[in-house]
Amino acid sequence: MDVLWLLVVGLLFGGWLALDGFNIGVGLTLPWVTRPGAERRLALTAVGPFLLANEVWLVATAGVLSAGFPEAEGRVLSGLYPVVAVLLVSWAVRDAGFWFRSRGVSDTWRRTWEGAITAGSLGLAVTSGLVIGNLVGGVPDGRPGIGILDPLALVCAVAVTGLLALHGAVFLGLRLPVANGAAASALARRLVLPVAGLGLLTVLLALPLGGLARPWPALAIGIVALAAVAGTGRALAAGRTGVAFTFTTLAGLLTVLALGVGLAPGMLDQAAAHDSLRTFGKMALPVLPVLLLMQAWLWWIFRRRVDRDSVAFF
């Protein structure tokens, strides 16, 4: 039962990184791949339907963590207090940017909230990278400030930021009209090599500096994630944006899988009592397939590229 719940936590957190990851990436790359005005709003329209549905995966991660691994949740969140606090504020600023940007008409108003989207996305990317980097160092023991900014965490933060920017740029290339998505695809092609390099550096640093309970399988999965980044480069070069997006999504999922496999023994020690997990399982497990179907329906409705007929709210 506890292994199952660890898989659910992994699925939710991995889902968040892979899905909200492209919202964040769009926010990061927005000023560089779209022209101000209508084109920028078109990019916001492209991610619009997915914003709420993607970010909710992290809320669900926290929820399931509090039920399945309450001890670990308390330790991770309070142990990484400053990082989590900045993550939450960045999240609020990013969302407010999306919500408020098109509610006013003046250039200043729109530029301000576009800035909020980019700044919030940068904060989210860096802090989620720091959280992952710190977890590679092992589950925190609840005392704050232990190695929050050690070299491994910092390199990991830059690597995750790069990966999410790549992911977002590929998404824009996939969902903007072909003519408007060209700049995003071009940026994505330029990002592949640096992201792969930073990823490799993270994996190499994790060997001497990491504190994973099971480092070798985690490293092997990390290498596969790097291969997915390389695959993105090849797909982009061949002009196959859909395949490239699949590869960047995989890279995000594999990153979390590597982390989960590496942390599993320590996490399982902190699982909730068996009875609680079973009660919770009876209620929650049947719901999970329904949730995935709902998300699939959302993707089906909004599967095409945006155009002038797309509903714009953001």
């Binding site: 022209r35 005005g37 209508a38 084109e39 709003r41 078109l42 619009g48 339907p49 914003l51 709420l52 970010e55 909710v56 809320v59 669900a60 929820g63 399931v64 509090s66 039920a67 399945g68 309450p70 001890e71 949740e73 308390g74 330790r75 991770v76 969140l77 309070s78 207090y81 400053p82 989590v84 606090a85 939450l88 999240w91 609020a92 969302d95 407010a96 919500w99 509610r103 704050p144 009209p177 408007n180 009592a273 009875d275 609680s276 009660t279 919770f280 209620m283 929650a284 719901v287 949730l291 709902m294 959302l298 409705i301 909004f302 095409r304 155009d307 002038r308 509903v311 714009a312 709210f313």
Partner: protein
């Protein structure tokens, strides 16, 4: 010091969240009814009503969501003692809230906002009913968690933590069920008074759109009548519940003998001060005075509907406008009474708030308190200004459901380059 700051942080974020959530929950049923009438009749006025109130709903939703995100994480951040002590009992209901309520609500709200014209109108209306059901399911699960803190049933002490013994008892906790009835009443009242108050403003200013605001006024007043009636009916039973579950708080707010209740608590829990802060009495009085107004006068708004008096009588319009903030004040006052009245306990009779704080320094908590408060207050001010502007502009200024080509008309060079259809 860190403890007080963490409590203040929780109070600020929860109160802000609650302010916005009250309107979300109150507007939701009105929009659902309106869109269903549009789906059935196809009359344009119902579509315009849905979009107008829907745009206000969505703008208001923004703050509910961003502040709510922080709440979900705050238990782990500031109260890791609580997750350690009661996580096995308290965690599942919070997790269910995120999975069966918030997850569904978010996914379907995205479909609703961006799915106009992408599906048959009955399906679009149905999507909103799912959003609404998600919101009310949140109320249920959050109050299961909160009811447990106020009246810990279904669990037993095992070593240094609580173990879950009876999940059913958690779901039928009187502290939970009583709170749900009362909160549902107050949100219906708030939603109804908001809609009738904004409509009254439009009649007062003579902005036109008479049919839309006449229909809005009617539905708003019907909801305000229902909510106003229920709010007092569900309010008094709260007192019996508090008397049974939190006797010291009952003595503090209901002219009881606080010292006797304190002595009894000492006999039960050992030496200590079990009295909640004295100011909750003021908070309780604020709520109950407002409640009494509705207890006696809940039917008055129905009189305003006779021969559409609200369209001509300025004093009626003025009354409805000043009533808009009243349920919000009562809701916050009531929430403070319930939560502060539980002090010094975080889990009543089981764990003191002082023993639940995370081992973080006061400086860390203070920094995050300042950061959260500054950012959220600024965003709340902007959000309320946007809601007020949207409400004043009326249905013609609404963009909810509009196509990109309509909101970014050709003219700017970059807009002209966009392809029409792919």
């Amino acid at each position: 010091m860190a403890l007080d700051l963490a409590r203040l942080q929780f109070a600020v974020t929860t109160s802000l969240h609650f302010l916005f959530v009250v309107l979300t929950l109150g507007l939701g049923p009105i929009i659902a009814v309106t869109e269903t009438r549009f789906a059935i009749t196809g009359k344009p006025v119902f579509e315009r009503m849905t979009r107008f109130w829907g745009q206000i709903y969505v703008i208001n939703y923004a703050l509910g969501i961003v502040v709510g995100l922080v709440l979900e994480f705050q238990f782990g951040l500031n109260w890791s003692g609580l997750t350690h002590f009661a996580g096995d009992v308290f965690g599942p209901s919070l997790a269910m809230e995120t999975l069966v309520a918030f997850f569904v609500e978010s996914t379907f709200l995205g479909i609703w906002i961006f799915g106009w014209g992408r599906m048959p109108r009955w399906l679009h209306a149905l999507v909103f009913w799912v959003v609404l059901a998600g919101g009310y399911a949140s109320v249920f699960w959050v109050l299961v968690a909160n009811g447990f803190l106020n009246h810990p049933v279904g669990s037993v002490r095992r070593g240094d933590h609580l173990a879950l013994t009876d999940f059913g008892a958690l779901l039928s906790n009187i502290s939970t069920t009583h709170a749900i009835e009362h909160i549902v009443s107050v949100v219906l009242l708030a939603g109804g008074l908001f809609v009738s108050g904004v409509s009254a403003w439009h009649f007062r200013k003579g902005t036109g759109d008479t049919e839309l605001f006449r229909r809005s006024m009617r539905i708003g007043i019907v909801f305000a009548f229902l909510g106003g009636f229920l709010v007092a009916q569900t309010g008094y039973p709260q007192l019996d519940m508090v008397k049974e579950t939190k006797p010291v708080e009952y003595a503090a707010i209901w002219r009881g003998d606080v010292n006797a209740a304190q002595a009894q608590a000492v006999a039960q829990f050992g030496p200590g001060d079990y009295r909640p802060p004295g100011w909750i009495d003021a908070s309780f009085q604020t709520m109950s005075i407002i409640g009494e107004i509705f207890e006696y006068f809940f039917w008055v708004p129905l009189v305003f509907l006779i021969r559409n008096w609200f369209e001509r009588r300025r004093f009626i319009q003025w009354t409805l406008m000043i009533l808009i903030p009243v349920p919000f004040v009562a809701a916050i006052a009531g929430w403070l009474t319930r939560e502060v009245g539980r002090q010094p306990w975080i889990v009543y009779g089981q764990l003191k708030t002082a023993d639940a704080a995370s081992p973080v320094s006061a400086g860390t908590v203070l920094t995050s308190l300042i950061l959260f408060t500054a950012v959220f207050l600024a965003l709340a001010v902007v959000d309320y200004a946007l809601i007020a502007r949207t409400a004043r502009r009326g249905p013609d200024g609404v963009v909810l459901g509009a196509a990109f080509g309509a909101v970014e008309p050709p003219g700017s060079p970059s807009a002209d380059e966009l392809p029409l259809r792919l």
